[in-house]
Symmetry: C2
Subunit: 138 residues, 2 copies
Amino acid sequence: MSQDARLSRVLHVLIHLSLRNRTMSSAEIAKMLSINPVVVRRMMAGLRDRGYLQTTRGSSGGWYMALELDEITVNDVYEALNEPNLLITGLAHDHPTCPVEASVNDMLNNVNAEAELLVLRRYRATTLADLAQDAMKK
Amino acid sequence: MSQDARLSRVLHVLIHLSLRNRTMSSAEIAKMLSINPVVVRRMMAGLRDRGYLQTTRGSSGGWYMALELDEITVNDVYEALNEPNLLITGLAHDHPTCPVEASVNDMLNNVNAEAELLVLRRYRATTLADLAQDAMKK
DNA sequence: TTTATATGTGATAGTGTTTGTTACATTAGG
DNA sequence: CCTAATGTAACAAACACTATCACATATAAA
């Protein structure tokens, strides 16, 4: 399957929005990411709904930050994207009564759950301010 | 994105092949998994190439184990599937010189790498015999 | 030797998710 | 009013796994 770059893109945008401390239109953001403005609006809608961003319509409207970078974690952004799947490895459920299938799937489920926990733990421990500070050092 | 059930399916098949200790045709395996025989042949080809399985063509041909279950790890099977991607979270590479993008991607890369390492460590530590033994207890 | 039955593999379509694009209603500043 | 922005619906494109058909090749068994 293919991959999902929304988290990477949205984090990038949020930090720029905060550093520039001004409103940016979807078109301006889209050009920055080399993607389509409609895709920008779609992927940022959840962040507006959760109060991390605000938008204004009409002329000279656009997107601006509603919180500081240290008030938002990577996990907050991940959840605002509707918590997309993290892992590709899926389970086959063809013989629900087969103990071999159950044993295989239990193992894969455990491994996936551990990996997911690790990722989410890191997401929760990282604020956007941490990322911005890291960027300053480059 | 959608997910990839090949690892789950192949592990299931290998354990059955070994427990039954006989040749099974692609059609028989396909019925067991409720999938198409051609898909079976394709997803098991790498295992044959690596010597975990053998095939015979012609009448009464099919697939049989070439090794014991305790000689194969989950990681061996994963590699025989050509090491498909484990994680969905991808990186955006639109502004290679932007330090913010670099900082975001470094973080995501580190997290992904750690999660992948965890998964592969578990895959390497688990033999098919472990899974079969676990299935016996159910 | 012929026949039936396998695998091996190319070609093409189906499926689900992200991304691309168009279209248009809605909103708001100048 | 006019311009420029968001909000969304609708639908196509891209991508990977899966489904299916077709057929060459191989081989056991009659």
